[in-house]
């Protein structure tokens, strides 16, 4: 079990690494209802381990602090009441130091479980806990970026300079014939869902890990682990289609803007046009300029930068992605087209830059049924009003993505690292 514990420690260490550039003040504040404070992410992931893993292993043990049970529950009704999400940033006590001490205490208790983790059920729960933590690692970064953006000083999250820009490459189309394909993971039978908007999520062992008992028993690996919304695996018929071999770039987007993309009603879905008007959008989130004839800047983890024409455009709403595709004479891929192309190795920038909007409504696969119990309590609960994103982003922890992974957000969400890949009927 030492491997599992080592993996656990590595996952937990990654979280701390991500808050290293932050002060207690940075970790405290919630910039909008959709985001959470970094301190809350630190506490909630710890709450998850304490509640579901330690709670299963040592049901008689007292919690570190009973008050944390409500404060850091996200939405698990079975576990009890929750503190309202939009008010998370108002909870200044416990402070960051207390939360970090709690993390250490929980980690020590997990390590102390030792061979008890050979119990497949505990191992599976811990694996969920790790995958859950990885999802919060991504959110922590997206939420901090949004917070720092509120500061007129535009402070950087990361030290140093952004990676050098790659040269621009023309986009190519990859074609696929009509026919049958299989979609989804087979074994998915357990699921968690991060509060709010994040994908049904779970876990996964990094490549170097021994699958051990975990791989054998537990949920769903394309080899190992998957979330239950990735199954049941089922046959899908696709018409012939083409998909681009790279993401839409910031240079492409500037052409769209220059061509009046944000002013032309005919390019937009009706709800999208309402959004453009009411949100007064004229560029992706984080793009800004001094005046209508001044050059664009974009706020990044490295502070304000000039848009790089060769880099993928980020922080798009579904409506923006859809309008751009219409402008380009193309369309968004369906999630099954995307998955089929990914399994056939046709996708560059597959999961290391941006989550990619698909035209697929986030809905259950045929014969999907949620699991029982608290962890499955909300399966399917978010299956209305959201669209599936596929891939993964620069903020996604290594090893967390796979071809069947289904992320999802409402069509107005922009603060995630969301981009766009074009498709069209063949």
């Amino acid at each position: 079990m030492q491997d599992l514990i080592d993996t656990y420690r590595a996952v937990r260490a990654e979280t701390l690494l991500r808050i290293a550039p932050l002060s207690p003040e940075d970790c405290q504040v919630q910039s909008m209802p959709d985001t959470s404070p970094a301190k809350w992410h630190l506490a909630h992931t710890t709450w998850f381990i304490e509640t579901f893993v330690l709670g299963a292993a040592e049901p008689q043990a007292a919690p570190y602090d009973p008050a944390f049970r409500t404060l850091f529950n996200s939405y698990y009704q079975t576990v009890g009441p929750q503190h309202p999400r939009p008010r998370r940033g108002l909870v200044t006590r416990p402070d960051l130091a207390t939360v970090l001490a709690w993390r250490r205490a929980v980690d020590d208790r997990v390590a102390g479980l030792g061979d008890r983790l050979s119990d497949p059920r505990l191992a599976a729960l811990l694996t969920i806990g790790m995958n859950h933590e990885q999802q919060h690692q991504e959110l922590l970064v997206t939420d901090i970026k949004h917070l720092l953006w509120q500061n007129p000083l535009a402070p950087a999250y990361a030290r140093g300079a952004p990676p050098a820009a790659a040269p621009a490459t023309p986009a190519g189309w990859v074609g696929f014939d009509a026919g049958w394909t299989m979609a989804g993971k087979m074994a998915g039978h357990m699921a968690g869902h991060m509060e709010g908007n994040m994908a049904g999520q779970s876990a996964g062992q990094s490549a170097g890990q021994s699958a051990g008992n975990l791989a054998a028993d537990m949920p769903g690996s394309e080899g190992s682990f998957s979330f239950d919304n990735e199954g049941p695996r089922h046959r899908v018929h696709l018409e012939a289609f083409e998909i681009q071999d790279r993401l839409v770039t910031q240079g492409d987007w500037q052409s769209f803007i220059a061509d009046g993309g944000y002013q032309r009603t005919s390019l937009w879905l009706s709800a999208g046009w309402d959004w453009v008007q009411s949100a007064q959008r004229e560029a992706p989130l984080y793009w800004h300029r001094e005046a209508a004839d001044a050059p664009w800047h974009t706020f990044t983890l490295f502070g304000n930068q000039t848009p790089d024409p060769a880099s993928p455009v980020l922080h798009l709403s579904y409506y923006e992605a859809d309008a751009f595709a219409r402008w380009a004479g193309a369309r968004l891929p369906s999630e099954f087209e995307w998955e089929h192309a990914a399994r056939n190795g046709a996708l560059h920038q597959q999961d290391d830059v941006a989550w990619q909007w698909t035209r697929s409504d986030y809905a259950p696969y045929p014969r999907y049924h949620p699991v029982e119990g608290a962890l499955g309590e909300y399966n399917g609960k978010f299956m209305s009003g959201q669209y599936v994103l596929r891939g993964g982003s620069l903020a996604t922890p290594a090893g967390h993505t796979r071809a069947s992974y289904r992320n999802f957000f409402p069509p107005t969400a922009q603060w995630q690292f969301t981009g766009l890949r074009l498709a069209r009927d063949a």
Copy 2:
């Protein structure tokens, strides 16, 4: 062409029949932004004929009143600006008498077209106009019902007493094997969409069709007319499923209420639960009672009535339909399951009582492409954030429905005659 003109006159007469019980005041008022005044429906359908039919037949002719062009445009950007939808009820001039005079003048001009209507393009446009008017006939009734509901006197729209209640019948399940089916209409290739929420609609005879056929078949008989969102016709694979042979009743719904259906978070989609809380729902729209222990009443076109346990429950949001299905251990049918069952004659109460929510997101069929020009301007424009309803309601004009008809509304809409039929995996 006399047949076509007779049909046109009959459609137009039906509209007037529906406002017969109403005063000028009743016809003036808009009860909420989603609804329109009856006077606006009368004017807008006339505007549609004048703009698209007479505009095509006699492009040099002056409009009845140039100011009406903007006032009664719903959302056709190509035609020009529109008066804002939520402010329709504030336009007291022209008054009802003027609008009715305009209707008569336009109808006379249409009749005067005579044999020119043998031009297939004009015939097709007039057919669209008639189908468009029929959709507004339904909206006129739903909107008036909502308006009268605002009046504390609870006035009735219809004279007399409601139809006698049928005896309650136990619901039965009809099973279907897994396999292939065809969905959608073949010929649909043109589309309009009523402002707001009503089904994508259109017209369209394919180029090769003779107007004679059109006049003979139309409106609404399968085989002749359909909206473009009903196509392209395509193959769909269904898993084995069962569907109920009747709609969920008001008696069923009272059981749901009595079992705490509106108070149990676990029955609801996350967005649905938010809606229940913020809209403070504890029963369908139009249900009310004096106190928590008093009997329910429901506001109908005949005024307030006691719920009839054997009658289908009406005025459900998608969220309510979905929650009830979960409570009942069932689910909503997909739109293709519904269509398959309908084509196989398995559905009682198919299209004469209530539109039936399906679990299907309103999305384009494979290889769907909008038509060109003003009438197709908004094709697909409403394909986000809405769910498909199938069937037809007590307010739908005779002959207007068919198995492939796709109505759609946002999941919170309740003021339409919306009901529920259960399905489940076999």
Copy 3:
């Protein structure tokens, strides 16, 4: 008593005269929560007479329609519940014809009281009813103007052309020495208040007054009738001040606009600046222009017109009036300065053009006490957050004003005929 009845008939006839240019549709609609439909004004004033006059004279008589008791109560809690004010426009039944029939029936019953009106209490109640009706006559016009303004066709309320403009005259200052003055009416001891925003109003002949005097003097001649908020009469000490002999004109206002009046924060009260920003004001209500360099137009009872530089500017909020005064190096008069100047005959355009904002918070006079009973139920109730206006407007019925009259509105109100007269410290 015939005199009183004749006066009553004349007051009631004036109301009908004011709706003569209106259709049932015009009379039905409520343009915003602050306004009421004309039909409601017609009904509510009738309700007032039926409830308070006929209710006192013939307590056993049945009301014309019991349902009207709630529908047309404005805010008299003692009388029973009220229909919510913002929803008045949604009540299409009873229709206008029914309301007019009700008016006639009530008028006939009043006339039938004959000599019973020599009862001073009944005479006093009827006098209140007439003054109440006169206030609604003004509101009816301001509310209809606001409604017609919502119509993009900008229809006129009045036939014909507006009165010819008078030549512009330079403003002169009239000075007053410091010293004592008396403010307010002596006899005021009973009060009603029109719903919403209109001046605290009342009635009242003291018990000892003969009805004969009442009939002879009333309505509105000083010495006879006043509202209770106009008293008690009391001594006030004024510092030396000067006040202008005419109202601020539309020409003056264009200078203010041209000088950046709406863009200069330093001219505005803090709350006023917030209002300018959030309401996006750049001119008085009803002023509009095609573009920033196009000429101004102003919507009037005669439709759109070019502003007349010599005419008083209308439809100002308190904040606008206050900002203009600061820009002009002056200030608003206090209500006591205004009253003192008016009693000394120093004011042109005293009460025939525009209500004039004063700097005085609407507060009770020393030792003011509300009267008992339903009519006095809300005395003082509106004495927070409003400013006093003095004078009278072009829409005020003849004979309804006097030097002690206190009208009042919140500082953001613009849809009344509100103007401005400058004052300054001597």
Copy 4:
């Protein structure tokens, strides 16, 4: 000048004392738009000294950090743009440590001015700065109390137990005859105003005053310092009145609640009743109970406590104070009645428990004129829509109050330590 510098150091030390119980997280968060983060108070008061005192003394010196000029400006347009008030809590950088270092640097520079502070103009500016800081000391406590109240753990600001309750004493009435009195301070001729809601405040030595007197007297002793809204001193005539010799208690308030005070429309101003309904109030701010029949608790600086019947009730809105007075058959005092009683020594609990609502609209005294320049930029700017409070509270720094002091807030404000003293006509 050492005296002045010592006084300055003492004032600045008091601010630090007030944040001693707080963590960086506590100091970061803004609980609502009306409040500010403690860190912002620390920074803004420092900005004030750096901008107005050091800026006058050493106009060539560079600021500590140029970015702070905008970040911590509250509303002084002359000085430049401001960061939006509702977004103060989102600025996590600079962090608390940086702000405290800035404070120290500014304090050292002030101390380094030495004998230059014998310049009366600099001494006056520093005096304003100290009075400004004292006002923020009070706000800092009220704002932190409001923040901690958001935390479900109800943490205490202060260590230990609250002061022992005094025995309840019956209220007595103190009577005053009708006659003349003088109101206001003579010398006030300069003004600042804290952002948002705090009293118009100012400083200012009249031309004839020597700086020596200033240092000797100040801050706050009558005869030396006052804000300009406290003048000009002027004669006021009062009718005979009586005023209570103590504040309304928590026991009194429980009687009001028990008597249906929050449910009886007739007790409330119209705007107050709207507020009660929309804000769903049934007790003062910070009062709460588990259920309708459970005992009340009240959140205090010492955490949750049981209401003490003998202690003054706190955290009332103007509307609540007004309704209670009406219920008690009394009224609020005018600000001049209050001042007259205070100058005659008739008031217990004058300025050490709660600010006391008066019925006086916050308006300029006769012949009041704002001063020139940045510090007087907003004089009078807040003189609309607010009521005057007199006295002082448990959070007011020692020596900061006087009989002429005019605090003011909108009628809905509750988070200040606001209470009530009854008055009535004699």
